[in-house]
């Protein structure tokens, strides 16, 4: 199989080494392509095990030669040093520390990531034979591709640094061999696909695993590979765990699209006796008014709630589609016959039924609709909502009165019946400022009085579908 495993229970440092290894080979019609490819990988494996390999630690002046009796560029880092010793050489990335608020830091006390890059020394060679030119004449296919190496190792701060580096070298070798398998398996003639590593955090005892997927091949065509891996790791057979979207996000990797993820984790749970929390599972993005340069202030709240739900299905690996725009949502409703063509491009509101229709049309997702004739009744729906979050774990869209909101969870006491609702409000018109969003309650716990006690409400509860 093309993956390997790291146990990560007590580790507080993640060493991550990334870099490009250039794969170059000559394929011609007469030779055995598989053999040539294997030989090239063997060559790269020797390169990685050679004494020319150098790790450079990002944001520091540290250089390590792991295969050269553990040489380092710092006198105080030797083969007896521990992993934690390396931390004092690393300069914190200034831009990160400016953006983080106090609340954010409190919640994120995960392991420290030490990023390293792969380098090769070209000096201090073994011999001094002057260069020769080797020429091959005859038609060939000259194939060249960059292999994106990405290996991780979970360590504790008092483990030996030299051992950790050896571990990384072994991981690199193993990754090359996994990549070789994928390149050979996905080859078509002289077309070779770049093997890309993805890291996954699987439930214990498996822990962290790296899987290699061929670039450009959509998840839908890798079903067979995932089936084998689900069996191997004893993963549930009904939900995605190893899609590219499920890849582990390292603590220091920011989301490039600018949307906030799971703002609710920065909240303190409400203080109710005997209450249990039933929350959305996984990751969603916060979609709200005025984003994406669309001025939907006053009419787009349900659209935004729908986008949040869509983002959930995308990030849990159910679909590879991008979150739809307002017009794409409207087009879907026209396509399905729910709306007349003039609806497209308008500023008309939509409700739970439209949300249900769009989820079905674009994602093939079915949803349950829950109806309450008075907002006051929502306080009695604790059990249903708790069950929903336990089994489906998807965000809920609620529409009624003149407003639409997203429910991300409930705090509910089976004994007293007391209930609080975790609400994500799409009516927020500001920027992606987590501090404001939390402080002003745009994402917050609300009591039953939050709802219009006399209006009727429809809730759209999206259901997961079975897939891996």
């Amino acid at each position: 199989m093309n993956c390997d495993i790291v146990h990560s229970e007590d580790c507080n440092i993640i060493f991550r080494v990334k870099g490009i290894l250039e794969f170059v080979c000559l394929l011609d019609d007469s030779n055995d392509a598989q053999c040539t490819i294997s030989k090239t990988f063997q060559g790269l494996s020797s390169k990685v095990s050679s004494k020319n390999l150098v790790f450079t630690v990002s944001n520091s002046a540290v250089l390590i030669w792991p295969n050269n009796c553990f040489q380092s560029s710092m006198d105080s880092l030797t083969d007896t040093s521990s992993c934690g010793d390396i931390l004092k050489y690393i300069e914190a990335d200034n831009s990160e520390s400016k953006k983080s608020s106090k609340k954010k830091d409190r919640k994120n006390s995960g392991p420290t990531v030490v990023n390293m890059k792969l380098l090769f020394e070209v000096t201090e060679p073994a011999g001094n034979e002057a260069p020769n030119l080797y020429r091959m004449v005859g038609q060939q296919h000259f194939a060249r591709m960059p292999l994106p190496m990405d290996c991780i190792l979970y360590v504790t701060s008092n483990e030996s640094l030299a051992n950790a580096c050896n571990g990384l070298v072994e991981a690199l070798s193993k990754q090359l061999s996994d990549m070789e398998e994928v390149v050979i398996r996905s080859r078509k003639g002289s077309s070779l696909l770049v093997p890309q590593p993805f890291h996954f955090q699987l439930p214990e005892p498996t822990g962290h695993t790296t899987v290699i997927y061929p670039a450009g091949v959509p998840d839908s065509q890798l079903q067979g590979v995932r089936e084998d891996l689900h069996k191997k790791f004893e993963l549930p057979g009904d939900r995605p765990c190893l899609r590219r979207a499920n890849a582990f996000r390292f603590p220091d990797e920011a989301y490039k699209d600018g949307y906030l993820r799971n703002p609710h984790i920065h909240l303190n749970p409400p203080n109710i006796d005997d209450a249990k929390l039933y929350l959305v599972q996984g990751v969603y993005s916060y979609h709200h008014y005025m984003q994406d340069r669309v001025n939907d202030d006053g009419w787009g709240c349900a659209y935004r709630s729908l986008q949040t739900i869509f983002s959930w299905f995308q990030q849990q690996g159910y679909v590879e589609m991008a979150v739809p725009t307002h017009t794409q949502i409207q087009q879907a409703l026209v396509d399905v016959g729910d709306k007349e063509p003039h609806f497209f491009g308008s500023r008309q509101w939509i409700g739970s039924f439209e949300v249900q229709a769009v989820l079905n049309q674009l994602l093939g997702v079915t949803s349950k609709i829950m109806f309450v004739s008075h907002g006051s009744e929502l306080a009695t729906k604790g059990r249903e909502l708790a069950n929903h979050f336990q089994t489906e774990g998807t965000p809920i869209m609620i529409g009624g009165g003149v407003l639409a909101h997203t429910i991300l969870g409930v705090a509910w006491s089976e004994i007293t019946g007391q209930i609080r609702f975790l609400i994500l409000d799409p009516h927020y018109t500001g920027g992606e400022d987590l501090q404001i969003i939390i402080d002003k309650g745009w994402c917050g716990w609300k009591g039953p009085e939050f709802w219009d006690q006399n209006a009727y409400y429809n809730l759209c509860l999206p259901q997961r579908f079975k897939t891996i």
């Binding site: 870099g19 490009i20 290894l21 250039e22 794969f23 170059v24 000559l26 394929l27 030779n31 053999c35 040539t36 030989k39 150098v54 450079t56 002046a61 250089l63 560029s73 890059k117 792969l118 380098l119 090769f120 020394e121 070209v122 000096t123 201090e124 060679p125 073994a126 011999g127 001094n128 034979e129 002057a130 260069p131 020769n132 030119l133 080797y134 020429r135 091959m136 004449v137 005859g138 038609q139 060939q140 296919h141 000259f142 194939a143 060249r144 591709m145 960059p146 994106p148 002289s190 077309s191 070779l192 696909l193 770049v194 670039a215 450009g216």
Partner: protein, 449 residues
């Protein structure tokens, strides 16, 4: 605010001793090192007499200035610039004229300096940075009064006018300049696709561009410390003017295979080609850096540029030679050929190390001859150091063969002059030869599959 040139007294002596036939002109090169604050001139070389002179054009009534063979001056400049180690380059030209031609001298010098710069920078694989000085010096000397006028031109600007500059003589300018050294291993694969616009030579030169960029972008460690910024490069030598011993500092270069533009691909880049070339081996490199508060970045740049230059230069020489010798053959053939290897020679006065390239069928005698021709130096063959780069495809100066791709002659390359080195050398060669045979066998196998 003109530039300041600190010139070694050896140059003063050389210029003073120049023999100028009456009524005629003498041109020559000025070499040294530029830095943002000041420039150092360490070597002057007269343009050698061109032997294959056709019927004398001198007496057509034009001025001797018009008779200056610009092509020959630029060719000489190119040959000499190939002999310079890192950090040193052609900084300008000198021109000796009789007094009556003095007023036209500036124009001639301007014409020459632009022509020289254009010619020697052709085929260069590294780019100039903002910190590189593009001013070149022109020195006009009157043959009677010996008066010297120093001006500079900015070769980046074809419209540039002459700017005044300071020319000061000083003793032992580079005697305490540290010398950076390293041996660099390379293994570059290049697809070759001959077409109307792209001949083999261009393919191979282009193939080296990527490698050159990697070297330029690489980390450089000098004496164990990373050299990448504008901090002062401290060679570690205590400033004692009495000690003129030159420090030799090892440099280490670390590169990454990253190439941002291509790294986003999802599939391999596959090129159909009519052949391929691979250059594999070790090159020995040297660079000098001045000791007047040099920046670490400049030191790193000097050695990196030497690495790139020595490779591109010997490939260029090999291909030029190939063009001449293969002209009549039916086409290129597969196999292994040795590129010219680098040998080092000490300059007569300053101890500066220059270099030359020796083809497989040449000997140190040929190198000595070339040095005499290009630089007017008499260097005993024993002083030519050929030990820094070895090669097992090189034959001794014997009998036959310009057939460089047939059998290897596993004879020693030792000629009798190198007596004191001979015994270890034989032994070394024998062992190395065995290894080379094994390596050849393996590499031919690899390519023939």
């Amino acid at each position: 605010m003109g530039r300041s040139y600190i010139v070694d007294e050896a140059v003063e002596k050389y210029l003073g001793e120049l023999q100028t036939p009456p009524g005629s002109c003498v041109t020559g090169l000025l070499t040294g090192q530029s830095s943002p604050q000041r420039d150092f001139v360490v070597l002057a070389v007269q343009t050698p007499h061109r032997e294959s002179e056709g019927p004398a054009k001198a007496s057509t009534g034009g001025s001797p200035l018009d008779d200056i063979d610009v092509e020959w001056v630029t060719e000489h400049a190119r040959q000499v610039s190939r002999m310079l180690p890192g950090g040193l380059s052609i900084l300008g030209l000198f021109l000796v004229t009789p007094p009556e031609l003095s007023k036209d001298a500036q124009n001639t010098l301007k014409r020459l300096i632009f022509a020289v710069d254009k010619y020697i920078t052709k085929g260069r694989l590294w780019e100039l940075t903002e910190e590189d000085v593009t001013d070149r010096v022109t020195l006009h000397i009157c043959s009677i009064t010996k008066k010297a006028v120093c001006r500079t031109f900015d070769v980046k600007d074809p419209k540039s006018s002459a700017k005044p500059a300071d020319w000061k003589y000083q003793t032992s300018v580079l005697s305490s300049w540290p010398m950076l050294t390293c041996s660099v291993e390379l293994d570059v694969h290049i697809p070759v696709n001959e077409s109307a616009s792209n001949n083999t030579e261009k393919c191979i030169q282009d193939g080296f561009r990527k490698w050159a960029k990697q070297i330029e972008a690489g980390h450089c460690l000098i004496n164990g410390k990373q050299a990448f910024d504008d901090s002062e490069f401290i060679s570690g030598q205590k400033k004692n003017p009495k000690i003129t011993q030159r420090q030799t500092l090892p440099a280490r270069i670390l590169v990454s295979d990253e190439h941002p533009e291509v790294d986003e691909r999802s599939s391999a880049q596959v090129q159909v080609c009519s052949g391929s070339a691979r250059v594999r081996g070790v090159v020995h490199c040297r660079a000098y850096i001045h000791n007047n508060k040099p920046k670490a970045r400049q030191a790193a740049q000097a050695i990196k540029r030497d690495i790139i230059n020595t490779v591109s230069c010997r490939v260029e020489m090999f291909l030029e030679d190939l063009l001449i010798s293969e002209g009549s053959h039916k086409g290129p053939c597969s196999g292994r050929q040795a590129l010219p290897r680098r040998v080092f020679v000490p300059a007569p006065c300053s101890g500066l190390s220059l270099c030359d390239y020796m083809f497989p069928d040449e000997s140190t005698g040929d190198v000595a001859e070339r040095l005499k021709e290009m630089l007017d130096w008499d260097i005993p063959e024993t002083d030519i150091d050929i030990s820094l780069e070895t090669s097992h495809l090189f034959c001794s100066e014997v009998t036959d063969s310009h057939s460089s791709d047939s059998s290897e002659h596993v004879t020693s390359e030792v000629e009798t002059p190198k007596i004191q080195k001979a015994p270890q050398y034989y032994a070394g060669v024998a062992v190395a030869a065995a290894v080379a045979l094994l390596a050849t066998a393996t590499s031919l196998l690899y390519f023939n599959e």
